[in-house]
């Protein structure tokens, strides 16, 4: 790992302490950490060393790379690039051919056992991996080699996490997820088609702060971003609870911003942070734009039937709407309480959060 510390590196680039504090407050917000965590986060991040990152793109559409690199620049997501030492990324690096290969091996040797490996794209196993090759070597061969020296692997996007679109029926290339190939390294899945750029920032920031991966759910996703469904955090939820649904994309309900459940919204079964982190620099997100969630951060979402077919059963039956008695204020309080529960480590807004609290939160 590079010896220089993050705050020193940033200061060298003219980024002040206040700018760094603002960055950390925003990062804590994106990671659904308690607001007071920003300060504890800043203290830890300031002292953390910059880790080496090797990024391998496999069988993919480059949408994931676009998602993170084309986010508003310079941006909160972009700032992570100042905090890491991105030693190899084929799509972004100037070097090509033998030079690029030499850079990869040099980075691996220099940081053996310590670098973070980011993978986007699935790994095709068909025809001995011949469907996707780089420098004459299959993705499978390359993944196995580079994973060996990695401290941890980040499978970015639904393809690397679950096989994604390439794995959709009938899976002509025999595409599999990174976790189907590598069994002996910690892997964090960041699914989404594409994933939210801030999530990768959050995962790297967590690694920098604590030296470990964040707490993961049963599908290997960081709980801080994938701990709740789209539906749990959706601002249209009170309409769902009141039984107010848009029936077509241009009816009165649609214009009034009612729930999109009957138009096929997969929010109730989809774990992702779109409803709170949003897209395009926080401008909006699919449901706010009037379209239901497609469920892109869930395994095999392409094969789950029509995007416009309503889920057969509501995730939480419409009991709450009985008599449509749920007044807005009551629903609001319920949501506020759930927000508090989500931000478990905050305990209450009155307490100062320490680094130890954050560690507890992520245990």
């Amino acid at each position: 790992m590079s010896d220089n510390r993050i705050l020193e590196t940033l200061a060298g680039q003219g980024i002040s302490r206040r700018a760094f504090l603002k960055y950390c407050a925003t990062l804590a917000s994106l990671m659904a950490l308690p607001p007071s965590a920003g300060k504890a986060f800043a203290e830890a991040l300031a002292k953390a060393p910059r880790p080496s990152v090797i990024w391998l793109p496999f069988q993919e559409c480059t949408g994931c790379t676009e998602s993170i690199t084309r986010s508003h620049s310079p941006s909160i997501e972009g700032m992570i690039f100042d905090m890491i030492s991105l030693d190899y990324q084929e799509t972004l690096m100037a070097a090509a051919g033998h030079q690029a290969e030499a850079a990869l091996h040099e980075a691996m040797e220099r940081n053996m056992g310590k670098y973070i490996l980011i993978v986007d794209g699935s790994v095709p196993l068909g025809l001995d991996g011949a469907y996707s090759c780089i420098a004459g070597r299959s993705n499978l061969e390359m993944l196995k080699e580079v994973a060996q020296g990695a401290a941890a692997i980040v499978a970015m996007g639904s393809c690397a996490a679950y096989g994604g679109l390439p794995k959709a029926n009938p899976n002509p290339t025999g595409a599999v997820a990174v976790s189907d190939v590598i069994k002996d390294k910690p892997i964090v899945n960041i699914p989404g088609c594409p994933p939210i750029p801030a999530v990768i920032t959050g995962v790297l920031a967590h690694y920098l702060t604590f030296g470990s991966l964040p707490e993961l759910d049963h599908l290997g996703r960081p709980k801080s971003f994938y701990g709740e469904t789209i539906h749990d955090r959706c601002y249209r939820r009170p309409f769902y609870d009141q039984g107010k649904f848009a029936k077509t994309f241009d009816d009165e309900g649609a214009r009034k911003g009612w729930c999109l459940f009957e138009l096929g919204c997969k929010g109730p079964v989809t774990y992702n942070a779109c409803a709170s982190v949003k897209w395009n620099g926080g401008t909006s997100w699919p449901v706010e734009s009037g379209h239901g969630c497609l469920g892109c951060s869930e395994p095999d979402f392409w094969d789950a039937g029509s995007f416009y077919k309503a889920l057969s059963m509501p995730a939480n039956p419409l009991k709450l709407a009985a008599g449509a008695a749920v007044a807005g204020a009551v629903a609001g309080i319920a949501i506020s309480v759930s927000n508090k529960a989500r931000k478990g480590a905050a305990k209450t807004g009155h307490e100062t959060t320490t680094l130890a609290d954050l560690e507890k939160h992520h245990e």
């Binding site: 407050a25 607001p35 959706c234 009170p238 620099g281 926080g282 949501i335 807004g349 009155h350």
Partner: protein, 134 residues
């Protein structure tokens, strides 16, 4: 056909009632500040608010006497609301996009005060300058 030509306007101003709960939380924090000296922060982005809810909340909180602009990796603005010690904090990136928003309950928002390490290096610079001048 350009986007504005499509004759559909979705109402995003609908109130969900969630902003009411935020006001209640601010009241609790303010009470805590007076009793224990500890305020707190509410993360606006972390709450399921519709665009209408956000505007409603801003209207309810109103505008106080102090407005502070910071140029720290993009603009930031700290506004005192009509309720003393209740601050609305907006952070934008360098492209001017709003990236995070908080309500802070504090006598003075922490972000404004100088850090001792920075004061120390500032003092060193000033000493050097004074030495050069003498």
């Amino acid at each position: 056909m350009a986007l504005p030509d499509i004759p559909v306007v979705a109402e995003t101003g609908a109130l969900t009632g969630n902003a009411r709960a935020v006001l209640g939380e601010v009241e609790t924090l303010l009470d805590g500040l007076l009793r224990t000296g500890e305020g707190g922060i509410v993360d606006i982005r972390g709450l399921p608010l519709s665009p209408g809810d956000r505007i409603w909340l801003l209207e309810q909180l109103g505008k106080g006497e102090v407005e502070i602009h910071l140029d720290i990796g993009g603009r930031s603005r700290i506004l005192e609301t009509a309720y003393p010690a209740v601050w609305w904090i907006e952070h934008c990136d360098e492209g001017g996009h709003l990236i995070s928003e908080f309500i802070q309950v504090a006598y003075v928002p922490e972000l404004i005060s100088a850090h001792p390490d920075d004061v120390e290096s500032g003092l060193e610079h000033l000493r050097n300058r004074n030495a050069d001048l003498s």
